[in-house]
Symmetry: D2
Subunit: 270 residues, 4 copies
Amino acid sequence: MNEIKLVSRTGGTNTHIQIGRLTVGLDFILIAGPCSVENEIQTLEIARAVQAAGADMLRGGAFKPRTSPYAFQGLGLKGLKILAMAREETGLPIVSEVLDTRDVAWMCDYVDVLQIGARNIQNFPLLKEAGKARKPVLLKRGMHSTLSEWLNCAEYILSEGNPNVILCERGIRTFETYTRNTLDLSAVPAIKELSHLPVIVDPAHGTGRVSLIAPMSLAAVASGADGLIIEVHGDPKMALSDSDQALTPQQFLAVSRKIRSLRLFMESLN
Amino acid sequence: MNEIKLVSRTGGTNTHIQIGRLTVGLDFILIAGPCSVENEIQTLEIARAVQAAGADMLRGGAFKPRTSPYAFQGLGLKGLKILAMAREETGLPIVSEVLDTRDVAWMCDYVDVLQIGARNIQNFPLLKEAGKARKPVLLKRGMHSTLSEWLNCAEYILSEGNPNVILCERGIRTFETYTRNTLDLSAVPAIKELSHLPVIVDPAHGTGRVSLIAPMSLAAVASGADGLIIEVHGDPKMALSDSDQALTPQQFLAVSRKIRSLRLFMESLN
Amino acid sequence: MNEIKLVSRTGGTNTHIQIGRLTVGLDFILIAGPCSVENEIQTLEIARAVQAAGADMLRGGAFKPRTSPYAFQGLGLKGLKILAMAREETGLPIVSEVLDTRDVAWMCDYVDVLQIGARNIQNFPLLKEAGKARKPVLLKRGMHSTLSEWLNCAEYILSEGNPNVILCERGIRTFETYTRNTLDLSAVPAIKELSHLPVIVDPAHGTGRVSLIAPMSLAAVASGADGLIIEVHGDPKMALSDSDQALTPQQFLAVSRKIRSLRLFMESLN
Amino acid sequence: MNEIKLVSRTGGTNTHIQIGRLTVGLDFILIAGPCSVENEIQTLEIARAVQAAGADMLRGGAFKPRTSPYAFQGLGLKGLKILAMAREETGLPIVSEVLDTRDVAWMCDYVDVLQIGARNIQNFPLLKEAGKARKPVLLKRGMHSTLSEWLNCAEYILSEGNPNVILCERGIRTFETYTRNTLDLSAVPAIKELSHLPVIVDPAHGTGRVSLIAPMSLAAVASGADGLIIEVHGDPKMALSDSDQALTPQQFLAVSRKIRSLRLFMESLN
């Protein structure tokens, strides 16, 4: 029941997705940037810093899914325009989250990868719209999604005609309270035996603690992940969202070097 | 942090919502009907049967959020028209789920209560649209929602101007596998101490087992719930969705009588 | 796999356990008393109060399983002697928890029912010793136990020769933080369709909140439970353990009356 | 509340535990062997094979905590004697689980490390006995233990006088069903910031799938673990317990080489 077809391992060879100069699924990709686009200066500074530190793509939220209606909800179109400026200057492809079916089509003019977040994992109309979009989709696991359900969500996108889905493990909700979520790294090799889609890891949301981002990034590389997405902010304590889990550009540079080095070592190990 | 305002117990007196002849929050409401609207004959037959058995409103899904893209997705507009016919004939107000921001406004022409399901609990654009709608909203708890998060979702709706929210406990996801979800009845008195909104219970989704619907319905009444929503199907084994958790009209009649009787007793107990 | 035999519904008719004048599984039993036996005066006062309020048995911990080694660990033998005095005076049978295989045999000289707590649910040597004991066993569900695992733990006791097991639902561990645990009342009718053993409910541990004890006690009765076990303390704020979830004798009296009244009503409903 | 003292990071420098030629907490330790000691020939063959493949210690269960009373419960004393023979022949220190307070003292004559399993994580009398034992203790995380609770369990052992505790992450219970448990690798760096105790990882119980043992072993090394404990069986399909999650000696050899190689690389990275 609920069997996957198009995303199944038996449904095809490893998916490779060309984004700019990168081939996701082949090259290891490092996506970095602020949780939220706050303003032009902040975003351009972070964009330059993460590019200098070796990031392959820029992430940044223009539409933010926030628990409270009174929390910062993102800059919307203005935020997307700032991201487009950052791409103009740095050449980094842009990853940004879409929340509303009405926004999918026009957001493709601004972003290179549409992110669908954990809270929308079973927003099926949104998945279907993403399936009709002409951009790759970064599909985060829901905080309550089994692997089977997550793959079925990807199946919604592929079955509408878009084969370019990147899965992203970002932690599941458990009883543990020390970490914000429990990062399930076993999902990486598990997804690889179930599906041909690439899978990356989000250690910042997965743990919610700056101190755990570096070790869990390295563990993700060793588990076989195809990339990482990491929150970076020039002044994390002042960030308008997720201030507890963003690296400074300096911290990102240090972990980025270890990540690249470990990835090379892992390739030599196989 | 994430403090609720408008939905808070301190934010107002008990909310009463007038729907037809009923006052939700004051009268005990019994909502019944098929998981999916499958066709006109099926729906009208069930509508008549649940009305005869004492139901106050008719539920039925025209847009179905299904794990797999290959499962029955609902009849859409056609389903809503069938529900409107059932209301015409029986006088029962209609509760039906909305999945897409683009559908909220026009669906209000067909339904009396907009349901937002567990999978869309943090679909914030949908909550905002529902907040602008001119119909009451039945807001199910997400399978991974804490009480605090759930109430914040209701806050999204109230903060957009719609005060008429009915909360619905429908089970949370746990490690237990005997039941489909774990029905958290403690949510009923807990919500009542945190908020002034009415709260009802869905014992069918909450347990996923026909045999547990009756005892959990009675337990919900004893816990102080303002109502129940129960799946009823003329031939559950042939249902296009949720065939394992629907009562027959005869079973519904039997449990409906006990529910009403227990509710009267509970009122005498206080 | 892991199929139960002796505890299975098909393995026998409803188990009735004679304890003093009571027949557990037939009579509704109300067990009340302090979390910990703290001293003679406290215990005797509570014993008299709960007896006056209609309790059928006295609970009280002499050996306490505490998260921290620096928390009060119970009075041990001295506590059991105090409980025996309370029985002497009130005639109430005694329920007390055993933690160690070495204590099972001799504790039977002091208690009428051996309690095995949630933390020892898979302490198999302890279950086996309890299976050899000549006293009934109150077996609490583990905070992580599936129904299947829980029944297998009871099977350990029955397979060693002791048929007198009372199951006790006390909440499972979930992601919710408002309540200490999530009380799974669906376990009551579920266990009744799987097994012939009696099942009672612990609403104090199940919720961890005084305000939720009364509504969840009533919900437990409506779900079909064979009894309740409730913490009562003369001065809850000063209790050496579980001070947040004990009723005063006055509160217990009020809820006890409603419980008995509802139970009578439920019997008339069937 | 429930604050740890002796096991706290601030309570001491990194704990080093001498076991034979190894210093746990400094050397990376690889523990391997069968789930259960089944007979002399099986155990000696596996002991020789894992030694040849680079294991540092031999694990093997003589007392098995099994869900069902009708499942194989271990060979008991006979199993311990077989393990002692294996140590005699190979020189590998022995790790074996203790279930009962009555067995702690005499089992120290046979084993080098006492294992306390997930099911006994809050069997406080057993923790206290282990605290009085003259052998190091391998303390597995409970399937429902928060990090705080787990460390408090270690505190029980240290507070009784035994400073030699090795923590072992073995997966927690979540809603996911593809894996037997969810291996929480973030526990490794989290424990290292909270405590000075060494922490190892059990990828076989943590995932319950042979195919995931190798990638999760490598991920554990990258996360900073002090060692691994891996089930190895000469003929996994015929194993009397845990047949789905044991490596063959050949598979263990292959992963063992990668583990050692990656560990060396990780040391060079810091």
